[in-house]
């Protein structure tokens, strides 16, 4: 019963402009992939290899086990990450990107790369903004 959607429901979901509505499922997905750790997990998995939980924890500096598990679950539930369990003791679990995951990872990387490539201009703009703010503080000497 979870294998079909009415075309009516889909039509509503696929509408453009829905992003301006908070109920749009796109916003949840966007939230997941652009979250603090979501971006880093996608980047860490971009090499196409399988990664163990502890390996990801070591690679992504500063992430707690809780947030790593949570982030991986979100990305898995969206179909971006595949989780493979080896029924051995001690437990062995590997994570990798699905085809869908590789595609969205490219988009995220594209955004991140653009920012890194244009960071100079951004920083200049930030400094101009700062100097303008301070220069407009001419309230001293009334």
């Amino acid at each position: 019963m979870s294998q079909e959607l009415t075309s009516q429901t889909l039509a509503e979901l696929m509408q453009r402009g829905n992003v301006f509505s908070d109920k749009c499922p796109s916003r949840d997905v966007l939230k997941h992939v652009t979250s603090r750790w979501g971006v880093l997990v996608l980047l860490a998995l971009m090499d196409g290899e399988q990664h163990r939980f502890s390996a990801l924890k070591r690679k992504i500096l500063g992430v707690s086990e809780k947030m790593l598990a949570q982030t991986l679950q979100q990305l898995e539930s969206d179909g971006f990450v595949i989780r493979t369990v080896f029924p051995v003791v001690p437990p062995h679990v590997e994570y990798g990107l699905t085809e869908l995951g590789r595609q969205i990872a490219k988009q995220v990387v594209g955004l991140a790369d653009w920012i890194e490539n244009n960071l100079l201009q951004i920083i200049e703009a930030q400094q101009q903004y700062q100097s303008q703010q301070t220069s407009s503080l001419q309230h001293w000497q009334s």
Copy 2:
């Protein structure tokens, strides 16, 4: 004194792999443009027109004045949004995208569009994930 950066400082900032560090300025910018309202503001300004504060508030459903002002300030400080003040009464302020803003908006739109275009597959994956979760809850009937 805010017009120059040493090439050494820049070299550090431009390093790839810095995204895995929390101190990377890129993460702040990424945070701004992918924030809950940042995406919507960029999308709302993508038409190239100038928009008044109240017009944006109407267009972006659910945003509070506080968050709209805050988001616009962040995007302006990053050099993505230009703020034009008309010294009249009552006050008249218009917002638009800079060239830098148009470029990053394209990246963000690319990400958002990809999600919308692939939403069907994502939703299917979510449903499969859900059904797998519930089917593994075979703890009843011990």
